[in-house]
Symmetry: C2
Subunit: 396 residues, 2 copies
């Protein structure tokens, strides 16, 4: 800021700034010449636009005064009921009073951190884990400790006694961001056993569970341990991220704590979008639309895997996750290759990605890339993977 102007007197968290280098690299890759495997957007071909327009008309014509008025922090009754029914139909018994509507599941991460974490408190996360969760949690200044993992992802066998004083364990059970991995049923059960032994709370963040290619992921952690799980869901991938509607399910008394924080954070989520979403759920639009959404993800995902198979150097210590759903593939390079340092070369070759270091809560591993693909047309996936393989090959 200009020296002659007053300088804001920022707080500790107001003074934190995210990685400027990463931001700059990612903004460089936002050029249309560049095939971006960096951006994790859903494919808008899956959005039910016309039905949303109809639902908006229905809501504004039949309950316009209500749709534009203040309302309850917990969320609109119709939407809480529809979400409860949706969760129940997928094997997680849920009552409407066990649902809190939030402004995207990002808000659930923020509220959860604020409700549980004082500065210095221990929380358990996978490593790598979802960047947005790390950002939200970081504002409460916790100590991050890492859940044990192997090539299949989270390995609950390695959860140690000294983890019992953690405020919670945060896990993404299906088609994880960034790894694309899914926790098996056996491991989910073992995780729940260990959580009971150590009296641990679990935050289950499941935005991608419905985006399976061939078969559904195993039953949810909340269905296995409803007494100690807060489950985070979202309409961002099955309806629209731009509507910013997510939800938390769990014990109503704990949801009251989150709701009280939400009252201070934004009072309630917009009524208009909530009522539109409730209408799209109760009239079956979302259910009917899901197979088409899954097909988009499956087609692009399997095509991307085939391209990696085709172009990546062989026998060179490069591996990637064989994803079975969702929107991310995680590439592991030989340890001497720093994916962040590779970025300028990749951008010169007209392809980009998220350097894996951004997804580690302590940024300690450099030889990974997160690739997303659902908004990239097949011919560009092919060309992009070939270009990327070429850049990597020069460093082997």
């Amino acid at each position: 800021m200009n020296e002659t102007l007053p300088r804001p007197r920022l707080s500790t968290i107001g003074s934190m700034r995210t990685d400027a280098l990463l931001k700059k690299l990612l903004s460089l890759s936002a050029h249309e010449d560049i095939t971006s495997f960096a951006v994790g957007l859903p494919n808008p071909d899956g959005f039910p636009i016309e039905e949303t327009a109809e639902a908006a008309q229905y809501v504004l014509k039949t309950m316009g005064r209500r749709a534009l008025q203040y309302s309850a922090t917990e969320g609109e009754p119709e939407l809480r009921e529809a979400i409860a029914a949706y969760e129940t139909s997928r094997g997680t018994p849920t009552r409407p009073e066990e649902v809190l509507i939030v402004t995207g599941s990002q808000q659930a991460l923020d509220l959860t951190a604020r409700a549980f974490v004082d500065p210095g408190d221990k929380i358990l996360v996978e490593n790598p884990t979802y960047l947005g969760a790390v950002s939200a949690f970081s504002l409460s200044r916790p100590r991050f400790e890492f859940l044990p993992a192997d090539a299949e992802g989270l390995d609950p066998e390695g959860i140690t006694e000294d983890m019992k004083d953690a405020k919670f364990a945060y896990v993404m059970p299906a088609f994880s961001n960034p790894t694309g991995l899914t926790i098996s049923l056996e491991r989910r059960k073992r995780l729940v056993e260990r959580a009971r032994e150590l009296d641990l709370w679990i935050i289950e963040d499941d935005p991608y569970g419905e985006l399976w290619y061939e078969k559904r992921p195993p039953q949810t952690i909340r269905s296995l341990a409803p007494e100690r799980t807060l489950r985070l869901g979202t309409l961002s991938k099955i309806l629209s991220p731009g509507m910013r509607l997510g939800y938390v399910t769990g014990d109503p008394e704990l949801l009251d704590v989150l709701a009280e924080l939400k009252l201070s954070a934004d009072m309630h989520s917009p009524v208009l979008t909530q009522l539109i979403a409730a209408r799209l759920l109760t009239t079956g639009v979302i259910e009917k639309n899901l197979p088409a959404v899954r097909k988009i993800y499956r087609d692009r995902g399997t095509f991307m895997l085939a391209c990696l198979e085709k172009y990546m150097p062989r026998d060179a210590g490069i591996s990637w996750t064989r994803v079975e759903g969702g929107m991310f593939i995680w590439v592991t390079l030989p340890e001497h290759i720093d994916a962040m340092k590779l970025m300028p070369e990749a951008i010169a070759a007209k392809v980009s990605y998220v350097p894996g270091a951004a997804c580690f809560a302590l940024g300690d591993k450099k030889n990974h890339m997160r690739l997303s693909f659902v908004t990239v047309p097949e011919e560009r996936i092919d060309a992009g993977v070939r270009a990327l393989a070429g850049v990597i090959a020069r460093h082997l």
Copy 2:
């Protein structure tokens, strides 16, 4: 919670609970037999419902993919431009890059507190002040200190040297919640002078400025001190609170700090509602609708003032603010009357209000009531004020 269930391991702020007695009393007053002067809702007769439905159609038909997709944290360019034009047209020169869109101005309060305040930091507020601001600020655990005031409200003359280490001064300049008072131009100028002398930041929260009955309030504090003011505005009173759209205007570098916190809090505000609001601003719907909105507020406000004149006991040390805009009247009772203790009697007489103690950051004054009126029909205002006067009279 049930003793056999795991207990959540809440943080300090997760363990804070708001006043349960007040909540219970207010929920008792939510019965349709009871004339509520407690609820601060805008009158839905002022909502442009049909035009909103048209705007929703326009947005979804012409840019549906964009309206339903993720977007930038700062807000949609059209809406930032429209807000900048709106603010500029009202005498506060504002460029689009000086506008951050938020999920209701409540979110601006939350982000501001997080950006500026560490636990124990001093902030300056009026006393009484807006309850929602106190709630949001409290989550950062500040030390509240009180801006000096007299019967006209904030009195900048009394701002002392030791206030210079405050993180900011929070003021509601026009038709304040809860007092209904407006800071005069002379006092605004003096406030700005003192702020410059002490290098103080000002948070100007102005949700009601457009709701004037006969004449506009004086020029905004941001227009007087753009270099040290963050100005909070909202579409809640001039369009719809249910859409949860507010904004912050100020130095773009400081808005970047807020935007980074917002990215963790909810990524961005819903695109659909932002584009609808932009359409309603750029097509002149909001401007055209404003006189009708003002008329609702003016008619009810002047009627309420007449009823107070008619029914309140005379020469008994009871006074109230002669409001010239907005939606609140602040009643001062003789000091021995506790407005909270009066509530059960008032509810028995079928009338309710907000006990003033809820609006004091330290809850130290008990002999006040906040009355709101814009959603109450005239015949009920008359009967309600008469009943309330009767309850008060019994305690004189």
